[in-house]
Amino acid sequence: MSWTDDLAPPAPYDKARDEAQRSRLLDVWREPTGWRRFSAVNNSIVGRWYLLTSFAFFVFAGVLALLMRSQLAVPENDLLSMDFYNQAFTMHGTVMMFLFAVPIFEAVAIMVLPEILGARDLPFPRLSAFGYWCFLIGGVFVCGSIFFDAAPDGGWFMYPPLSSDPKQTGIGTDIWLLGLSFIEVASIAAAIELIIGVLKCRPPGMRLNLMPLYCWYVLVVGGMILFAFPPLIAGDLLLEMERAFGWVFFDVDKGGDPLLWQHLFWIFGHPEVYIIFLPSIALIATILPTFARHPMVGHSLVVLSAVGIAFLSFGLWVHHMFTTGLPNISLSFFSAASEAVAIPTGVQIFCFLATLMLGRFVPSIPMLFASGALAIFVFGGLTGVMVALVPFDWQAHDSYFIVAHLHYTLIGGMLFPLLAGIYYWYPFATSKMLSDRLGKWAFWLMFGGFNTAFLPMHWTGILGMPRRVWTYSLEDGWGLLNMVSTAGAFIMAAGFAVLAWDVLRPKGKQPLAARNPWNAGTMEWSGEVPDMPWGIRSIPVISTRYPLWQQDGLLGQVDRGEWFLPDAKEGKRELMVTDILDARPMFVQRVPGPTYKTLLCALLLGGVFIFATYHWWVPTALSGIGFVAALIWWLWTGTGLIPEKDSKDCSRGLHLPLYASGSRAVGWWAMFIMMIGDMTAFFGLVFAYMFFWTVHESFPPVGTVPPDALYLLLGLALCLGAWALVNTACVWNRNGRREAARTLLLIAPIVGLTGVAAMGWACLASDLNPTRHAYDATCWVLILWLAGHIAAGALMLPYCAARSWAGHLTPFHDADLRNVTLYWHFMAVTALITYLLLGIFPLVSGGTA
């Protein structure tokens, strides 16, 4: 007996009702026009902005690549200055990785995911828009620096001690550190949005075993972002603190160690490769069944591959550090994991091939790109198996062999599948088709150009050419190979120009594409032509993996409004939230519409990062205050709103609540997921502490007094006390003791802030000076982290009290307070770990007082 058996049959079709419903839906979901378009938050618009901006950055980084190839075309060339060349290769890597490869995943997912789920939008449309604006502002800031000869020039992985010394690397490094930290806000925002989208916004009936493979990949990659990006944020914090204030983390003379940065960077950097690769493979996994006219063979094997790769990819980071002198046994663990990851990677490729063999292959431009992708990627994967072997890597490290390898994996594993996706989903996004003839030109120019450019680099590398050299001499014997590579690069660029022309050329006279032009089976093709802004006319029950193939008459039912939420009588944008396992309807989530607040918040937060880069502290502080104020305004007016009634009729006799709090609510999950990422960044700092302990004979060093035990303990007690007060306030509020709960919410921040002040005093009392030794700096940075977080938590509490006073938070409508309580659970853990590291660890680690 399933819940769908209780549904009433659809009402007989009534044209007038259908038109009235359509008109109301259109009113609610209509996008702002003209200048007001900048206030749009709908996934299809934000996704399109994201996509175009990412490709603009791709073109920028591609032009830098062409400049580099021009410089390297002939020996002893002086087309570019050495300084500019340094900036060019740093920016090329940085922009391609941070401003193209990762954001393009978010772009495609924000656009496609809700539609593939048969949902109207993602659960936090304003968060998507905020993330986009952060990405745009941060990206323009980082890229713009090259026009002022101020771009970062320390290589895309920014190794200290070169990067930690402000005398050797100028403002560019600060731009890199702060600009990219700012952009990472966008990535984490997108990860939260997408994970919750997959878990909670699936259409009713779409159980986990029926979920499309694309969603599995998005879920896995979202999870990877949460664990991979935060260590880099921690690393950025340490490096910027050393550059700006002289705190010691990487200076060997004062107990620091540059290898710490390499660890933190590559704990991010290697999963990052898979964060880029998996979403693109997800595109192939979605496209391929369409053109094989056959469901994916080995559905669970592909899910296994995605999950397996996600985990194993976190055990590979040291393979970027094989030449740093770590013990052989340590290197071998990472070599072993690097070989093991080839297993799940191979499994999914075999599944793809099996699907093609069992199906009826229909040639098309998307499949042309997908086939090219597999060919290139397998080649790059095989050189990956080679460089995963330590002795081979010792020979190839930092040579053009590596440049060739990484471009084969990234262009084969990421760019070509993405281009397949562009051809495939272009009619979905624009209702127009791209040209087949131009598509073939684009493919063969890019495929041929790519191999001409990068295949010779394997030989150039074997012949000894190191990466990142500005020029070389004739006697080196690399001239011919480099000339061939340069020619290939320009051929590839020509292919991209053809693609860009095809995408951007005016298509006003071209007829609209047919609905579902590729005859696909997934829900994103259920959209009407021309496209309507509401996502889907009515939200159907899904009972198969390929609904458009396997559920007869589904499109007609959706179009006639026979399924859920076919109307917008209350004039609100509404989504359906379902449970994680079986996607049973739980409640209706109302999402906010267009606003400028997200843009304002992004501008102000951008101000904080940009002004801090130049050490303009007053504007930094003013931007920070402005950001907090704007954020509170956004939250106060747009979130946790109490609906005008408790539940609503979703059609077919299904009544659902309009409000949820605690672990049923999407906001609670967003907080939980964000704090998982936050804790990972904190563990990056904990890792720094433990790393220093392993490299020093005594940590704390001889003669250093650890933080004062009594004040530390007092600080911990107060922080935990604040946490207990918050918990009590939450319970009291739920029990109707609202006045008492408000009082606790005003006392708790004072207690928490006093607690962290006591911990800070413990460090001061022991005379710990962060510019003296890595121990002192590490203690202080842990305190700083805790203080920042307690301060943020302290702001949330009066906010909840004010919401309660204003009547926006009641014993039943307590989502805000439940989310804040969850935040404080994480604060308690952070405070406890900080105490254990600073107070207890020195007692057992053999450190001397």
Binding site: W3, G205, R207, L208, N209, L210, P295, V297, G298, H299, S300, L301, V303, L304, V307, G308, A310, F311, L312, F314, G315, L326, P327, N328, I329, S330, S332, F333, F334, S335, A336, A337, E339, A340, I343, P344, S543, T544, R545, D579, I580, L581, D582, R584, P585, M586, T694, V695
Partner: protein, 128 residues
């Protein structure tokens, strides 16, 4: 409407736990060897006898835990294991079987990866 409980009824935890055991095993092996070599190796490379035994024990323990979870997963899956199995029916039973199937496949992958991780301990007798 009644919703299945995520942890107890969903068996999702088994999907996440199996590769987490690989991750735990991997990190512990790395840390044991790294800390040993950093702390106990002076000018003479330290012998790895103790870490090798610890790694052997960790490997046995991890493989045992994976075998146990694989047994649980087999129970959810409820059938004779076959590598390719569609499991695409619209029932809670099939959702459970699907997660069981993915868990079993992950158990196989994780067990292989754990053996890969343990292999260096068979080779190296000293820190460098």
């Amino acid at each position: 409407m009644k919703y299945p409980r995520l942890i107890s009824e969903g068996s999702v935890w088994i999907v996440a736990t199996i590769p987490s055991i690989w991750a735990g095993h991997f990190l512990l092996c790395y840390w044991v060897a790294a800390v040993w070599c950093a702390k106990f190796s002076g000018t003479v490379p330290a012998s790895l006898t103790t870490p090798r035994w610890i790694i052997a024990a960790l490997t046995a323990l991890s493989l045992g835990a994976i075998a146990f979870l694989a047994y649980r997963a087999l129970h959810s899956y409820g059938g004779t294991f076959s590598v390719e199995n569609e499991i695409n029916q619209n029932t809670s039973h099939d959702r459970k079987r699907f997660l069981g199937h993915v868990s079993l496949l992950l158990a196989a992958l994780s067990a292989i990866a754990i053996c890969f991780t343990a292999a260096p301990a068979l080779v190296f007798a000293r820190c460098w």
